[in-house]
């Protein structure tokens, strides 16, 4: 069997065919689900740990420090050591806390992020579920996480946690609109909600280039509002440690805290993936008009690395402004959304509709 790294469809089909020869269709589905589940669990853990490491390194370089550099080469195993430590930390039970909700909350947060990752096209053919409403699905699932945060704040029996959770609720509900509308701008341009088709439509140019100014505005708004949605600085009001100690996860310890922590990084990874899929062409290589030689060189890089590179670039931007900006205040945060981003977005989507109708796009 030969499979090429530029098109993984043959690889996934080969797995499916070999399984079909060995067992009945029902069992094939079950086996495939297990394979995909295990693959995602592994991927999830690796991405989570690596992003924690990356953030520590990035912030260290922003702040004139070295960052982790003792455990393993370049400190790569530092996060693994930290996670191992977190696994063994005592799970402190809080008096008068709502036990059921308190224990449920981290799982909701982590499950929401886990569900969203399934719809992301990693490379050609490497796509767990290619829903025809992929954009809608990701939006719906990724906003489930806020329920976990609200529950965590409510059930902790801690006033700081409650304030943090309420802030987070207000924030996610508001910024969800901007995220949705900026993605809709691209849906209007692409004419489909299926993520694989959106990527395919960018074969001859990424939407951020072909979509004129509206696509660029949508990209900027998406980056801002998705940072807010993932509760990261400068919008990290939900955990604002100088005001609320640690916000909604103040009372959590050990692996439950690690769940919140990992989910934050995975959420960042998901929004970066969505941004790269919808605006930067997902796993599509960079093609410039009729530069044949250049395009061939770009095609030589496997799609998965294109995808990782773009996602990594957006993650770096998000880390960059986390470590250089001061935090907003809650009323300023909501003002930014309702007074500026939302109206701009609405006008933007109209503009995009006009451009598509008049066929001005490239």
């Amino acid at each position: 069997m030969s499979f090429n790294i530029y098109d993984l469809t043959s690889f996934t089909e080969w797995i499916h065919n070999s399984l079909s020869q060995a067992m009945s269709p029902g069992w094939v589905t079950v086996t495939e689900m297990v394979i995909v589940g295990v693959a995602f669990l592994t991927f999830y853990a690796i991405v989570g740990l690596f992003l924690v490491y990356a953030e520590r390194k990035v912030c260290a370089f922003m702040q004139n420090r070295l960052g982790p550099n003792r455990v393993g080469p370049f400190g790569l195993f530092q996060t693994i050591a930290d996670l191992t430590k977190l696994l063994f930390v005592e799970l402190v039970s809080i008096r008068k806390a709502d036990k059921v909700l308190f224990n449920l909350a981290p799982f909701i947060v982590i499950i929401a992020s886990f569900m969203a990752i399934a719809a992301i096209p990693f490379a050609k053919g490497l796509h767990a579920i290619d829903l025809n409403i992929g954009v809608l699905y990701v939006l719906a699932v990724s906003s489930l996480g806020v329920i976990g945060i609200l529950l965590a704040g409510w059930s902790s029996n801690n006033k700081y946690s409650l304030i943090g959770a309420m802030r987070s609720g207000a924030q996610v509900v508001s910024y969800e609109l901007s995220v949705g509308l900026s993605l809709l701008t691209i849906v209007v341009l692409a004419g489909t909600m299926q993520l694989s088709e959106i990527v395919e439509a960018q074969r001859h140019g990424w939407f951020i280039f072909t979509g004129h100014i509206p696509a660029f505005i949508a990209f900027v708004i998406f980056i801002i509002s998705s940072t807010a949605e993932t509760n990261r600085g400068p919008f990290d009001l939900a955990e604002a440690e100088s005001e609320l100690t640690a916000g909604f996860h103040t009372e959590y310890s050990g692996i439950k805290f690690a769940f919140f922590f990992l989910a934050e990084y995975i959420n960042m990874f998901i929004v970066a993936s969505i941004a790269s899929t919808l605006f930067l062409g997902g796993w599509m290589p960079l093609h410039i008009g009729s530069w044949e030689g250049f395009n061939n060189v770009m095609d030589f890089i496997p799609p998965f690395f294109w995808y990782l590179g773009k996602t990594g670039f957006i993650i770096f931007i998000m880390m960059w402004f986390k470590w250089t900006f001061p935090r907003l205040r809650i009323d300023q945060l909501l003002k930014l959304e309702w007074k500026y981003l939302l109206p701009i977005n609405l006008v933007n989507i109209l503009l995009m509709a006009l451009i598509v109708l008049l066929e001005w796009h490239f």
Partner: protein, 373 residues
Amino acid sequence: MENVLNSTVEEQQEYIINMGPQHPSTHGVLRLVLSLKGETVLSVEPHIGYIHRGIEKMCESITYPQIIHLTDRMDYLSAHINNEAVCLAVEKALDVEVPERVKYIRTIMAELTRIQSHQLWWASFGMDLGALTCFFYGLRDREKILDIFEETTGGRMIVSYNCPGGLMYDIHPNFQTRVKEFISYFRKILPEYNQLLTDNVIFHERSKGMGVLTREDAIAFGITGPSARASGFSCDVRKHEPYSAYDKVKINEIMYSAGDTFHRYTARIDEMWESMNIIEQLIDNIPEGPFFVKMKPVVKLPEGEYYQRVETARGELGVYIISDGNKNPYRIKFRSPNFSNLWVMNHISKGNKIADLVAISGSLDLVIPDIDR
């Protein structure tokens, strides 16, 4: 104000939060009892005394040279200036004229202390607002001053460099070159501070018009230091009642009139520039001569009351000594700037959000051991 903590939740309509004594943004063991309505602060009730060590009482049983070492522990960021205050009071009481060299060195060290204190304040103020990178920038540059201190005095933060009648030791031979190096370095770095934090739009939004303190209120509450000067209250002791070598230099008193968080911030940034100007006027002209006056082995103050005030990095520090003629004071009282500055918090942060309260308390630049003593 009635103690809100004694009433039950049903009785009170507000949401009561205990901020501190262990909280990241109270900069020590200050406890603030906040009553909130949603995010809005209705009242702030500061509770102090968590780091009370009885320094004033302890001073009554030790000799004057020993008192110097306790004053380091009050406002640990202005350690040198606290030392100087006690020394000046004792010298005033004994009518001792210290050599010119001592005056110059004391002034230079005091201004270096002011710069490093403001650097640390800038670092932690950025952190209060959520700009974490500021902390490392501030501490990186503060390290350079601490190295200068270490070379000359042997201590980094708790310097104990003054003694009644002069200085503990002469300056290190490298002192002048290193101070000059630092100033030329810091003149280049300070604009970077502005690029990182001051020019940020979010920072302007967060600080402008927040926690406005009027000139009248500043005087009524006894606010001193940069916090008062940002409100337009001219209270710089260095200018109005010069001590040490401040009468030999040209001081430009930093004054603003708006009195909000932003101007308390800019006042401190400008003070760092001004301190560098003062040091530059003195550093090349340090006169030769002895670095102390020969004093009696046991310092006994004549009977009477003595007062000396100095300008620390946070405001006016007053030392009030009552002597009964013994080798230790009958009573010593420190008028510490932070104690007065703290109580204005309820007045200026009412009606603002929790996040603003953190910014306001950061802009007042409180050092808790100085409040409790």
